[in-house]
Structure formats: structure tokens, C-alpha cells
């Protein structure tokens, strides 16, 4: 029995993207062999932090169509979960770090339930308010969280290189998790919800369950990124949850290619590394990226990955074209 043509096409597309993601991850793995400066390794570690946020947000917004404005807030919550557990109750990182997945994941689940029936601007505004409430609560609860001054978090590993590989492994795990989800039925349900929620529901997709899972996984990934970042910087602060940080994540995903597996990876690394390199040339990096976001949103929805693929497809049309409807039964 032949598999339906569209599923085949999706699987092939995902497969391509996963392959390229693995290439990117492998390239990152080789970097410490050539670069020993702790400064640049640090820059890449932070880009991997953003890459994880991008992967998490892309799952929710790019694949499930839930345009949440709260990824940075969840990273902050994850970082503070680990930090507060260690600070107040001396909970070791072996428990504290996994909690940075679970706690934000559960909070995300609740948020997902709240915004279940909302869409478009209402969804965006609700998640934005939630993000701001979270940040303000952390900021103002000075006795509990030390507020603006930030919270010290113990380090997990000591050397910069060890931290680097730790982040890389986490990023790879997050990407593989999303890939696995997308290949499974849940992935297709989410994409169906994104494209036409009413239609999907009418075909029997359990919209509530699918959205809930998407929120849990996405927020869990973001939270974990925050927890790891805390152990790297040994400091978490309400800064992590600023809306501006979410803006940077959105920019990275849009530039890389929203709704693709590899887009968040290349977007995050490119944007962050380039911004560090451009730092010396007069700090214009954010202006450039903002312009890129606008241009890409306006003209190139598929992002850099999409542009690359199209350029490639023009040279080898047979390999990457979807099967034509006439050819299958």
C-alpha cells in the first residue's frame, strides 16, 4: 500500500532539514578544535542558548501557529527555578536543572489552556501580558528573588569547553525532539491546526490535546535553555525575560526561516555571532537585523533557509520537487 503523497513529501522535507541541522550541529561540535579563545566560545554558547529558544518558539509559532510572545519569559522562569531552588533550599543541580524543564513546561501548559480559544492578536497580547506579569513579579519580589540585582546560580561544569559541549548536546536533543514530534502524528496535527484550525477539528484532530502538548514542549525547551544559561553565567536576572529578548528570538527565527527545522539554528547562530563581530564596527548590528526582519517578513517568508533551498532547487529540480498530484493514485 502506498503512503499518501503529502506525508511522503513532508517526511522528505523534514528529513532534508534534519540532515542539514545535523550538519550545522556537527560544524559547531568541531569549532573548539580551531577556536580556543574563551571569549568566542562564550559567544557561541550564548548563540546556542538563543538557538534553543528559537527551536522552542518555532515549534509553537512556526509549526503549531500559536504566535506566543513569551519564550524569553519561560527561559527566565527556567533559570529562576534552578536558581531559587539552589539559593533558598540548596537543591543540587541534578534536580534543579530537570526542574527547569518541568516547571516552565507546566506553567506553559496552563498558559496554553488559557489561550486555547484565542488566536491572532488576542493570543499575542495574552501571552505578552503573561510574559510581562512573570517578569514584573520576579523583578518586584525582591526578598524572594533579589529582583533587579539578579540571583547567583552555581555552576554545573567549570571549563568553558565543557559548557560549550553541554549546550551543544542540549541543543541537539531539543532539535531531535522537535524532529521526532513532527514526524509523529502530533506533528501533522499541529501543522493542520496552524493552517486551518476549524478544518482540522472537523477532521477529528484533538485540538485541545495537540495545543497543550505543543505548549508544554515548547515552554519546557525554553525553560531548560534558561536553566542552562544560569549555570553558565552563574547569574540569572529579570533581564532574561524582557520582551526585547523575545523580539530577538523572533528576529532570529524569521531570518533563518520560520516553520522549518533548520531555520532557528542558522538564524540564531548567524544573528548572534554576526552581532558580536559587528560590535566593533559601530554597533549597527541591531539596525541591520531589524531591517532584515522587516524585509524577510515582507518578501521572503521562508527566510534564509528558504532562499538557499530555492537556489539549490533551481539547479536540481527533480530531486526536491514535490510529487505531482497527477502521478499518484
Amino acid at each position: 500500500m502506498k503512503l499518501p503523497s503529502h506525508r511522503n513529501f513532508l517526511r522528505r522535507k523534514l528529513g532534508e532539514e534534519m540532515l542539514l541541522s545535523l550538519v550545522v550541529l556537527a560544524a559547531l561540535a568541531l569549532v573548539p578544535l580551531f577556536v580556543s579563545s574563551p571569549y568566542w566560545l562564550g559567544v557561541l554558547i550564548v548563540s546556542m542558548y538563543f538557538a534553543m529558544l528559537s527551536v522552542g518558539w518555532n515549534l509553537l509559532a512556526g509549526y503549531a501557529g500559536q504566535f506566543s510572545l513569551a519564550p524569553a519569559a519561560f527561559a527566565m522562569l527556567g533559570g529562576y527555578t534552578t536558581g531559587l531552588l539552589a539559593w533558598h533550599w540548596s537543591v543540587p543541580l541534578a534536580i534543579g536543572l530537570p526542574m527547569s524543564i518541568v516547571v516552565p513546561g507546566l506553567i506553559g501548559l496552563v498558559l496554553g489552556r488559557i489561550v486555547l480559544r484565542l488566536s491572532g492578536p488576542y493570543l499575542a497580547l495574552t501571552t505578552l501580558s503573561f510574559a510581562e506579569i512573570a517578569r514584573l513579579v520576579v523583578y518586584n519580589s525582591i526578598d524572594f528573588t533579589r529582583g533587579d540585582q539578579g540571583l547567583n546560580v552555581p555552576a554545573l561544569v567549570d571549563s568553558r569547553v565543557a559548557n560549550y559541549y553541554l549546550f551543544l548536546v542540549a541543543l541537539a536533543a531539543a532539535t531531535l525532539l522537535v524532529y521526532a514530534m513532527l514526524r509523529a502524528p502530533i506533528g501533522r496535527f499541529l501543522m493542520a491546526i496552524r493552517d486551518d484550525e476549524v478544518g482540522a477539528a472537523s477532521r477529528g484532530v484533538n485540538v485541545v490535546r495537540a495545543k497543550t502538548i505543543a505548549f508544554f514542549v515548547s515552554c519546557g525547551i525554553c525553560g531548560f535553555a534558561g536553566g542552562l544559561y544560569g549555570t553558565f553565567a552563574q547569574l540569572v536576572s529579570p533581564e532574561l525575560g524582557l520582551i526585547a529578548q523575545t523580539g530577538i528570538v523572533i528576529a532570529m527565527v524569521v531570518i533563518g526561516g520560520i516553520g522549518t527545522l533548520v531555520g532557528p539554528l542558522i538564524g540564531a547562530v548567524l544573528v548572534y555571532v554576526a552581532s558580536e563581530m559587528l560590535r566593533d564596527v559601530g554597533n549597527v548590528q541591531m539596525i541591520v537585523f531589524a531591517l532584515l526582519v522587516i524585509v524577510f517578513a515582507r518578501f521572503f517568508r521562508e527566510g534564509l533557509w528558504g532562499l538557499a533551498r530555492n537556489a539549490f532547487a533551481r539547479r536540481a529540480p527533480a530531486a526536491s520537487a514535490p510529487p505531482s498530484p497527477a502521478g499518484q493514485a
Binding site: A61, G65, F67, L69, I114, L118, S119, G120, P121, Y122, A124, L125, T126, L128, S129, F130, E132, I133, L136, V137, N140, S141, I142, D195, D196, I243, A244, G247, I250, A251, V254, G282, N283, V284, M286, I287, F289, A290, L291, V293, I294, A297, R298, F299, F300, R301
Partner: protein, 296 residues
């Protein structure tokens, strides 16, 4: 009496919120999208006012119209180049036009903040006051000259806007387009121009709000983010697309925050509005004075 002081203080703050919120709700009414760069128009207004009066030596009263002009130009440009695709073919985003609006206006916000940061510098500036009277008695209340003047100007602007929408020809065209875009265009109304007018009016109000508050807020590139978040809250509470709703919600929020800060919690006073927002979205999504929208 403390309660009376708090009430009046809340109303005054509510007036400033209203200047920002009204424009945002109008944009939603006519384009059905949220403008996430709204705070930056406020920021540009504050900067224009400050720079024009400081650098060019223009008296503050003349710098106000300069800020309004800047707002109008920026609004026109944004609508023309970034917002047109929303109703003239949806660009390359297909069905996800809401998401397009979010991303594009976010990008615009980032761009404006960083442009100003780069070109003018991140140092906070001090806008000149419209009045040198630092305090005066108004019955049982004490108020500064600046606050009084800005409150009066705000009332004039809001009333002016309401009259414009209700009575003028263009205003009524805007109402028509907000109610039914297709129908309005069939009736011969230039919907693109109506959208343009709305965007410009919205930005003029935001820019003037920034200019009026410049002496207090010390304009810096990121000064618009916080007022913008407040506006989003107000717009939903009041009912997206409803101007009277926004005004009522603004005043309500101002008073709520004022009382809440003293009687509930000073630290968390900014969260009251946000919590109220979530409650409204769950219980009465159309807001106080909005209409229940039926989507197909």
C-alpha cells in the same frame, strides 16, 4: 483627603494612557491587527519635541506640532509600505496575516529603537517643560503646572478625535471601513486612504503623548516599551476597535493602579492591568464596550 487625591491622580494618568490607547484601537478597528511598534511612535514624538526645542531653540509650544508632524509622517510611511500587503494580497504570508503584522511591526519597533540609539545616542535627554510653575493649588489638590497643561491638552485632543470620527466626512468613511471593508469599498470609499488616515491619526496622538510627557519621562530609546504594553492591555479591556471603550478603560486603569498602589501593593501595581486583561479575555473577550465578532 487621600482617596480623592488618588482618584484625581488616577484620572490624570488615565488621560495619558488614553492618548496612546485610542490610536491603537483605531488601527485594530480598521486593519484588524495590532501595531507592536506603537510605543516607538510615542518615543519618536518625545524625541522630536525634545530635539526641536533644544537643538533648534524653538519654544516648546511650537515643538509640539513638530512632534505631531513627525508622528503623522511616520504613520503614513508605515501604513504605505508595511501594512498595505495585509489587505492588498497578503504578501507571502497567505493566511497568516496576523502573524505577519506581529513580525513586521516587531521588526519596525526594533529598527526604530536601534536607529534612535545609534543616531542620537542612548543617553536620556530632558524635554523642556511647557510651564515653569512647579506647584500650584487647585482647590484641595496640588498639581504642577506641567501636569495641568498636559491634562488639558489631552482632553482637547481626545474630544477633537471623537468629533472628527463622528462628524467629519473622513471620519465617517473610517467608521464605514471599520465596520465592513468590502462593503465600504463597494460603496465607493477609498479604503486605502481611510487606513492611511487612521494610521496617521493614531501616530499623531502617540507622538503628542510622548511630547507632552517628555519633561517627566526623560526620553531614551526604550522609553516607549512600557507605555505600549499598557496600551495593549487597555485596548483589549475596552474592546478592540472601540474608541469610547479605550477611553473608559484608560481612566479605569489609571484609577485602579492609583488606588491599588496604595491599598493593595505598590510593587505590583503594574501587574493589576495585566491580570485584568487575562480575566477579561477569559470572561468577556469582546471587552467592555466591544462587539462580539463572529468569524467564519
Amino acid at each position: 483627603m487621600l482617596a480623592l487625591d488618588l482618584f484625581v491622580n488616577g484620572l490624570i494618568i488615565g488621560l495619558f494612557y488614553a492618548l496612546m490607547a485610542v490610536g491603537l484601537t483605531m488601527i485594530f478597528g480598521i486593519l484588524k491587527v495590532v501595531n507592536f511598534a506603537h510605543g516607538e511612535f510615542y518615543m519618536i514624538g518625545a524625541y522630536t519635541y525634545t530635539l526641536v526645542s533644544l537643538a533648534l531653540g524653538v519654544p516648546p509650544w511650537l515643538a509640539l506640532p513638530a512632534a505631531a508632524l513627525a508622528g503623522a509622517l511616520l504613520g503614513w510611511a508605515t501604513e504605505r509600505w508595511l501594512m498595505r500587503p495585509l489587505y492588498a494580497g497578503y504578501g507571502s504570508w497567505g493566511l497568516m496575516k496576523d502573524e505577519y503584522a506581529v513580525v513586521v511591526t516587531f521588526g519596525l519597533s526594533l529598527l526604530l529603537i536601534n536607529l534612535v540609539d545609534k543616531v542620537i545616542g542612548p543617553y536620556p535627554m530632558r524635554g523642556p517643560s511647557l510651564s515653569e510653575v512647579t506647584r500650584m493649588s487647585l482647590g484641595p489638590f496640588m498639581i504642577s503646572g506641567q501636569k495641568l497643561i498636559t491634562a488639558i491638552v489631552a482632553i482637547v485632543l481626545l474630544v477633537g478625535l471623537a468629533l472628527f470620527i463622528r462628524r467629519s466626512l473622513w471620519g465617517r468613511q473610517v467608521q464605514a471601513v471599520a465596520q465592513n471593508r468590502l462593503g465600504a469599498s463597494i460603496a465607493g470609499i477609498d479604503t486605502a486612504r481611510a487606513s492611511s488616515i487612521v494610521f496617521m491619526a493614531s501616530d499623531v496622538l502617540a507622538a503628542l503623548a510622548g511630547a507632552l510627557l517628555a519633561p517627566v519621562i526623560n526620553p531614551s530609546p526604550d522609553v516607549g516599551i512600557f507605555p505600549a504594553v499598557k496600551s495593549y492591555v487597555i485596548v483589549v479591556i475596552g474592546g478592540m476597535g472601540s474608541i469610547p471603550g479605550s477611553i473608559v478603560a484608560s481612566l479605569l486603569l489609571g484609577v485602579l493602579e492609583s488606588f491599588g498602589a496604595v491599598y493593595l501593593s505598590y510593587d505590583y501595581r503594574d501587574t493589576f492591568g495585566l491580570v485584568l486583561l487575562i480575566l477579561v479575555l477569559l470572561l468577556r473577550p469582546q471587552g467592555l464596550l466591544g462587539e462580539r465578532v463572529r468569524e467564519v
